[in-house]
């Protein structure tokens, strides 16, 4: 009975099935896929998108969207690289970059609430604005983190290991746990779901939904900044075009995880699975040496199939 229940629950979780099927198919096609080393690689590669997608989950749950994440990643990464190169303490650099990302997120939130802009439009503005600032700031050239003790230590955040597992994987797990906890066990988390499914009823319940939105966009900004730190630390430099298009992978992960674009419905576990599906696909297509043009075609098809499967489930009557 309990086994049956478990299987039933599993069958209802379409994203998980897609993940499992994809993984099984790929392992059969290429035995190198299911080696321990490759699995760790997938997890490490997924971590960047997973962190951004976690922030994006908040934005989409509230019925909004944050297109600016890629630019926030690039901007905070460039600032972090500059500070590290000048020999600033790594701890201070990380905190500064995170706060900067949070502040940009807060600005997005202000545009949405006080400025009454559609989130799509508001963040479409900031994505271009910030990318421009990055270009001005870096003169279009990569910013190296330099060759100091600080930069070596900073590099560990992106490239280091604790035990056999890469540091970014720990960070990703911490982010998932924290986000899960906030969404399921705190007041603000409850307010995020409430505002996302019926904003008016939430206002009538005496809740300031503008504050909830400011919180959500700040979280999204902070997560993008964290991803910026991870990317910069891994490469040892900040590329001026770092993060371009990352918002699309993040949105794809959230939607693959079953979160409704209309807001109010969705989970962090779903986003985690969504991010893994994208990670597995990227990895598998590389392993099988598929040309990068075909990779996008394949990715697009899998995303559409996964979302369609999920859609059909919801339409059952």
């Amino acid at each position: 009975m309990t086994m049956n229940k478990f299987i039933n629950k599993l069958l209802k979780n379409k994203p998980l099935i897609v993940l499992i099927i994809t993984s099984v198919v790929v392992s059969v096609l290429n035995p190198r896929f299911s080696t321990w080393g490759n699995i760790l690689t997938i997890l490490r590669q997924t971590s960047i998108n997973a962190v951004i997608a976690t922030g994006m989950t908040f934005a989409i749950l509230i019925g909004g969207i944050d297109l600016s994440v890629g630019s926030v990643l690039g901007f905070c990464g460039a600032i972090a690289a500059t500070m590290i190169a000048s020999g600033t303490n790594v701890f201070i650099v990380v905190i500064t970059a995170l706060l900067l990302g949070t502040a940009i997120g807060f600005l997005n939130g202000t545009l949405v609430t006080a400025g009454r802009l559609q989130p799509f439009i508001a963040t479409l503005g900031t994505v271009t604005l910030l990318r421009g600032i990055i270009m001005v700031f870096t003169q279009g050239r990569p910013v190296s983190t330099g060759n100091t003790d600080a930069s070596a230590f900073f590099g560990k955040i992106g490239g280091g290991f604790i035990g056999p597992i890469p540091v970014p994987v720990y960070i990703m797990l911490l982010v998932f746990i924290a986000a899960y906890y906030i969404l399921n066990h705190t007041r603000i988390g409850r307010y995020v779901y409430a505002s996302g499914s019926n904003e008016e009823a939430t206002i009538y319940s005496g809740i300031n939904t503008n504050k909830v939105k400011l919180f959500v966009y700040s979280v999204s900004g902070m997560m993008a900044a964290l991803a910026g730190i991870l990317v910069t630390a891994r490469l040892g430099s900040a590329q001026p075009n770092a993060g371009v298009g990352y918002e699309l992978d993040a949105i794809a992960a959230v939607v693959l995880g079953g979160t409704s674009m209309a807001g109010g419905i969705g989970t962090i576990a779903g986003t985690a699975i969504g991010a893994l599906i994208i990670g597995v696909l990227n990895n598998a297509l590389n392993l099988m040496q598929v040309s990068s043009y075909y990779q996008d075609v394949a990715k697009g098809i899998v995303i559409l199939i996964a979302v369609l499967l999920d859609r059909k489930q919801k339409l059952l009557r």
Partner: protein, 496 residues
Amino acid sequence: MKYAVISMKHITKEFSGITVLKNVDFNIYQGRVMALMGENGAGKSTLMKILTGVYLKTEGEIHLNNEPVSFVDVRSSQHAGIALIHQELNLVKDLSIGENMFLGREPVSGNGRILWSKLFNDSKYWLEKLGLNENPRELVKNISVGKQQLVEIAKALSADAKVIIMDEPTGALTPSETEKLFQVVNNLKTEGKSIVYISHRLHEIFEVCDDVTVLRDGELVSEKPIEELNEDMIIEMMVGRKLSEQYPRIETEIGDDILKVENLSNQFVKNASFTLKKGETLGVTGLMGSSRTELMRSIYGIYPHHGEIYIKGEKVRIKSPKDALNLGIAYVTEDRKTNGIIGEMDVRENITLSSLKKFTGLMGVVHKGREEKTAHKYIQKMSVKASGTKQLVRYLSGGNQQKVSIAKNLISEPEILILDEPTRGVDVGARKEIYDLINTFKAEGMSIIVISSDIPEILGICDRIMVMHEGGISGFLEQKDASQEVIMTLAVGKDV
């Protein structure tokens, strides 16, 4: 001799193992109006959704003109001439009347160009048939709800509907619009159309219906011609027990002023001044457009306003619902779906939403155990019919959603409770329960404002009545001096 255009036989419907309709027979007769009655949750909507092809039946047969048919989707039932007019009208507000009427079946020329003049001329023909002198090019959002209702009927007729199902059609209509609708229904009857009329308003049933079918708990109680019935008999069939008294008003001790509003004005309300005493139930009524709801929502902090509000003699500023709740004012909204409940959340989460602070500890962490306990207590106190605190609110019936909405406001422990149309769309049995709850709150010393357009209800449960007309207060009446006539006189803006 009655001729059944549609006859549904032995209809059974199960949703994942739960039977919601059991062996129900239902007939729709040519040229007659069939009332479909039953408490919320009795299975009326499910039955109609099966007839219109929204749901598939588990067992049973549907006969159209004595031929068995099967409606697998909405299109196939529409094709058979069945039209459903929803309680919440399904019109596209930003399109014109004509565009709405022919949406999806616009007349086109050979090369696919829409024949606008034909579309609008045809629209005009059907509108005039219903006595509606609107320009079909007018946008739907610019006409009253009553006229929108008639547009829905015109749309159904233009699609050659033979059976028209009206779900709570008078819910948002003024008395004169209701009269107009009844005339239309009578005309349709004489033209041989068949009508299913779903309403909780008993007196309407006696005004327009020819036959009555009553459902209870998913089963057929009885089908009878209206001549063989009276109101009490219908109520008894619906609830399955005798209703001793519909409005059980209790006398309580009335204290000093608790709320005093002076010269409140904004875009809706003109110089409204009134007081509410401790332990008092104040009824607020008026016609559509009297801004009763807007006045109360202004006090609740939804709309900005000028003027003064005093609570227990102290002047207060209310700029948001949060301020109001902190001052002990709770407002149960008239429109549950839009701003009362959150359908995608469960009963527990809905009940605690406005007072979540009480259940939160360090760092904003919610104590789910305590929350669960409280929610459970309120479910029992208010006898909410739900499978548990984890059930999603959108699966509850209207009356139970209303109870959840009231429970949410009670947890904030208000001293002043404003109930806006607390029984709209709520069935007879649950209505009585809501009146009993109001009395319980009253006995506990709460001060209550009840907004309602149901005048017998206002007369039945309130100590004092305030009547509004076009944004102003046109008079106050003590319960003993009030009558339906006096209230209507004030409501239309005449002096008594």
